[in-house]
Symmetry: C2
Subunit: 214 residues, 2 copies
């Protein structure tokens, strides 16, 4: 599959490399085509490198792996490249301006995913994978047990395709939380993630949703 990965940070590098290794035709996008990190990605993995617009145009599926505080501004310029496509929004609107632990720059009555969907009404935005570390995203088996990942989005067909994609990464427990407003719930998990990271001393963890059998 042709996949665009927007963002050159830890999530983009980890997910991008895995997708290349799985045989996908991946292009990573950065602010500029000669960005050091995007060139290093191409050299290291054999994937492609370009601008955000290049990668968005390349992908039939596009992943937003940019930092939450820059995602909206960058994506708002890419309607022409993204319209009609599925955009998996992996970003979290973390605000470190008041130190650690971060708070959320948008939450409770709105979410980053909703902001992106409003800015790009022609794109099928699906929030997912934002609740785990990049290493867990691409290899969920590193965490034992039937732990869970969530999807939120307005379009059932798009969510179904994202769920199929997640299964190819090894995800087994995939929970559809509802329309794009349910991304608020997934993004509001981040404060717990940050606290658990401090308590557990590893970023290789996740939550499992357990319910009574009946």
């Amino acid at each position: 599959m042709k996949i665009g990965v927007l963002g050159t940070g830890s999530a983009g590098q980890t997910v991008g490399a895995k997708l290349v290794a799985m045989g996908h035709d991946v292009m990573m996008g950065a602010r500029s085509a000669d960005n050091e990190k995007v060139l290093a990605f191409a050299q290291r993995t054999g994937g492609g490198a370009g601008t955000f617009a290049d990668a968005a145009r390349h992908g039939d599926l596009v992943l937003n792996c940019t930092r939450g505080d820059t995602s909206l501004g960058m994506l708002s310029t890419l309607a022409g490249e993204l319209d009609g496509k599925i955009l998996i929004d992996v970003a979290n609107p973390l605000d470190f301006s008041k130190g650690f632990p971060p708070h959320l720059s948008v939450s409770n009555t709105d979410s980053l995913a909703e902001q992106i969907q409003r800015a790009l009404p022609g794109v099928f935005v699906v929030k997912s994978l934002n609740t785990v570390n990049a290493a867990v995203m691409i290899e969920p088996s590193r965490v034992p047990g039937p732990h869970s990942v969530f999807v939120s989005g307005n379009d059932k067909r798009a969510k179904g395709k994202v769920m199929d994609f997640l299964r190819t990464l090894g995800w087994q427990s995939i929970i559809d939380l509802g329309d794009i407003t349910s991304a608020r719930a997934a993004e509001q998990l981040l404060p717990l993630w940050v606290r658990l990271y401090g308590v557990l001393g590893t970023e290789i963890f996740n939550i499992a949703v357990m319910k009574a059998d009946k």
Copy 2:
């Protein structure tokens, strides 16, 4: 143990009845001592009934099981009865004024538990049990697997006593998230709880924190 249960709703009734059955000396507190629900509790369980102030005075341990939108105003009047005691804050600041799903009336950079701690600086406030339904609070074994409950509070000794108390209810995986500011993380789980309740079709569920063995 002498326990005060503040609030006559589902959480107060369920937790109060269980604590009486466990042999504790329980008094439920309501807005007035002749409140129908508190009298019914006393008749049904053999526990005591009184005002919020009566129950707060009675308990060596006190549980706030009132509705989140009324907790702070009620508790703010009880410093005389609560100072020096442990208050387990089970409430959630859910706001249904804009319909379903509810949002949080305080979140992200503050929490209900912190508001209560600021109003009652002489009380050892510990946030806990707010992330599960009342039936799961008192009988965690109804949900399979090693699912988790959280504690947040400023005083280590008070949190230790609450953890001991939780163990008597059957809780095995109890995670200390940190000081009272970490209650933000526990309260921000509620939006996910509400979505999962809709998806799973039962309130008998919880999350388990799973991490890599290494």
